[in-house]
Symmetry: none
Subunit: 518 residues, 2 copies
């Protein structure tokens, strides 16, 4: 059983990803969570590059992590300069991080074209920088940039660069597939070549440009690497870094002979993944391997049927082993068994008469264009209605919308007249479009009675024409996604010939679902 | 140079994905696009499972594809039944598809627990079904479900199942990693084992549950498989199928010794990927390998700096080789090559000044949410406007829509006031929804001047929220598809905060396009 070190760079390489934006507090919170999770190394940032990263290290120095080693990232010293005078080196020293990660050039092409120094000066820059921090008592991890591309172009020179780092005292030499362009067989072969060249234990840092980040990391580990670098959820520039979630799940649960983080962490992977999304204010990726909401979701009728017989038939691991859950989706392809599974979750399956009624109603509605796969909230309201256990919180007397335009900048207004218990409310509001105006008028009418509606908001709105041959005169399906302040997200659906009526129906379901749950 | 066959199952396995919903027209449109792209095999659906799939095959039988072989999917015959009496077999025969893909069980565990027949009966079901379709002159592809799990559990029985398919005349035997749980080294080893067991050429069908779908497909091909199955953009149940975009790019551009689709298709991969997203009304995945908007985007200061010196420093392939574009600044420039390709088609690319103006305008519009991939008619009008060669056939004074509902059956009315040359027309009409009513009023106002408008009608209407965090208050993009009596189909786009204004803009473009061409 080989233990593989997990090196997280969510806060440095991950933060380079498009749409990724961590505040200082976010970074500290994520670092503490990674620490509690048991991650071996946490790369916190590049202190020279911005004050936020420098401050991050100060915050961790004041209140240190319990388990993880904190790493500060920087480049080799500048050409023709001593380390002690180099601003980058000073920033790393000031970070007080126990581990310093130094990136240097492996490729003579990059040495000449990007760095514009001689091959010998590049070797001296690597050697001096590593030796400088070793001399200061820091652990040094050496990141060999463009390792694979550099080795393929000039193996002799590439070997000299990692030898320079090894001889200067680097604790680990990490082979970076910087551009993400390597194939697993190349990664395996060059890992073996590196292991023959130096005695320092090797690490692997991969990117997903060929959709092979995970395979490349695993191939390198199989070939001898002891450390793997990546980010939570695969955040990172371009197509992202290796997703440590998948790396840890594959090493801990799937591949033979490996262990990560002492072996106990897998069941908390889903929680960790979602925590990082939440802190970063990013959408979950529903089809994410292991931890996505769809990772153990079953739609095809044949499969769902089989699942009811043998749970593991169509699952490669039990969802609980990574802290995820099984979901059975309602859809046109599914037939009866999906609906039964969903109703079972709602504890309704034993009522055979009700189940028959639900099934008949769903089939009828699907024929009219309803889809409940992304609208479980509407489905649950439907079941409650058919069970007779549902009383609406308000009733529509009428709604009215107007859109008028004289070119661009249309003017929109909506009014709603509702009966809420004994009271009648008639309210009007403007909006950016008719649905937005209806939503505003509806909230205005309901706010006094149901102040909890302020906690929810709409997060997505989609429209599809169902019978597309008839286009705008055909039925349309509207799907609305709403989110509560506690993070719960639910989908509702409306179908009508009129897009405004369909939107209204989906809107009302969304609000009723919220009112039923609170 | 080994040629690898590409087998697309976007329309069958891809349609099982959560949130994937293709109408019949969508399926036909995608099939024709895949055909034009040069895909070897297109699996269209499972005709027994729903009438839409059965109708799909009828549509393709009436107007056949030019290049691709169409495959209909089904299971082995039911137990204790002759093929000629089995409804599944009948549906496959009626599909008239030249290729029949039959899925059968490899795993004796599944034979006993899910199928609940004897091991011998399962072998007979495989043999009979394959032989039945071979006897009818169809090409048969045999999909070995749970191949890897089944082989690991009981290699002797697994071998018997694929031997049964091979002896009965299957053209290909495809090894399915149904649950997506296999590791690349296992896939390679068992591919070699299968190749020793049967002489029929092998295919590989993988899923992404361990984030290894691409690696597993490539490992199997390296070990001898000649066909790879997957979906465009990796659509599919749970974590998706192998993304054929990445498979084709890796085989065609990255790995040595392989060729796909005759070698010419790579530069159109980005266009193909986005087309399928657009037709399916799905969001692009910006970090998608090779074709995502971020795949060649550079954010890190160091990288952008290096790119300015040596373009390929931080890119594993030139973005143009897959039809994608480099993005260095925070610009949303996407599909530049598409735009140039479109302008070239219009004989405008030689006018450098105009091209620059078009590109700048398109970048600006893309930042506001426009997408021209599915809206070539709007693009061609835009170019004409920028070239100064466009005079509108009518001008809007104002439009006005009302929707009022007292429950169900909303009442809708729209009026339009237009200036047509010297004349002003003010007309009102009802409709099933506001867009339908606007379309009716617009046609009423234009009918006397432009009787040819009676030849065209709208065939599809799609709405997407662009900035989904703000939901109904954000911008929406409307895409309208129209069809002429001569069969020509064109797409137009409108973007606005107001869905009615955006629909109006797309509607006007559609009508202007028709008036320009006649």
């Amino acid at each position: 059983m080989r233990s593989i070190e997990i090196y997280d760079t969510t806060l440095r390489d991950g933060a380079q990803g498009e749409g990724v934006n961590f505040s200082l507090d976010d970074k500290v919170a994520i670092a503490r969570r990674l620490d509690a999770f048991g991650i071996d190394y946490i790369e916190g940032g590049y202190p020279l590059s911005n004050p936020k990263d420098a401050e991050f290290f100060q915050r961790l120095a004041e209140q240190p992590l319990k388990h993880s080693k904190v790493c500060a990232f920087g480049m080799t010293r500048r050409r023709g300069m001593e380390c002690k005078d180099d601003p980058g080196m000073k920033a790393l020293v000031e970070s007080q991080a126990a581990v310093v990660t130094i990136v240097g050039k492996t490729s003579d092409f990059h040495v000449a074209e990007v760095l514009r120094v001689s091959n010998e000066e590049n070797l001296a820059m690597i050697r001096d920088t590593v030796a400088y921090f070793v001399g200061l008592g820091r652990e040094v991890i050496y990141d060999a940039e463009h390792f694979f591309d550099g080795w393929k172009a000039n193996p002799e020179y590439a070997a000299l660069t990692i030898q320079a780092a090894a001889e200067a005292g680097a604790l680990r030499v990490v082979m970076c597939d910087t551009n993400g362009g390597s194939m697993p067989e190349e990664v395996a072969e060059l890992t073996r070549a590196a292991a023959k060249t130096i005695d320092v234990p090797l690490g692997i840092h991969t990117h997903n440009d060929c959709e092979l980040a995970i395979a490349n990391a695993l191939a390198s580990i199989d070939a001898g690497a002891v450390q793997v670098q990546g980010t939570i959820n695969g955040l990172g520039e371009r197509c992202g870094n290796a997703d440590l979630i998948s790396v840890m799940a594959n090493l801990g649960l799937k591949k033979q002979g490996y262990q990560v983080l002492g072996g106990a962490a897998a069941a908390r992977l889903t929680e960790l993944s979602r925590y990082v999304y939440e802190v970063g204010n990013m959408h979950f990726r529903s089809n994410q391997p292991f931890v996505g909401a769809s990772a153990f979701a079953h739609k095809g009728g044949m499969h769902v049927h089989a699942i009811n017989r043998v749970a593991e038939s169509y699952e490669h691991i039990p969802p609980e082993s990574v802290g995820n859950t099984r979901r059975v989706l309602v859809s046109e392809l599914s037939g009866r068994s999906n609906i039964i599974a969903l109703a079972t979750k709602m504890n309704l399956a034993e009522d055979k008469t009700l189940m028959d009624r639900v099934l008949r109603d769903v089939v009828d509605r699907e024929n009219r264009g309803y889809q409940y796969e992304a609208a479980e909230a509407s489905f649950s309201l439907l079941v409650q209605k058919l069970a007779g256990s549902y009383t609406p919180h308000f009733e529509l007397e009428k709604f009215h919308t107007i859109v008028e335009s004289r070119g661009a900048g249309a003017v929109t207004e909506a009014s709603v007249k509702l009966r809420i218990g004994e009271q009648v409310r008639h309210e009007v509001a403007e909006g950016d479009g008719p649905v937005n105006a209806l939503d505003a008028a509806l909230r205005k009418a309901l706010a006094d009675h149901f102040p909890q509606l302020a906690q929810m908001h709409l997060v997505d709105y989609k429209v599809r024409v169902i019978n597309s041959e008839a286009a705008t005169a055909a039925s349309v399906r509207v799907v609305i996604e709403s989110r509560d302040s506690d993070g719960e997200v639910w989908g509702t659906v409306g179908v009508d010939e009129n897009v405004i009526q369909a939107s209204w129906d989906a809107l009302v379901d969304s609000i009723e679902y919220k009112l039923c749950k609170s």
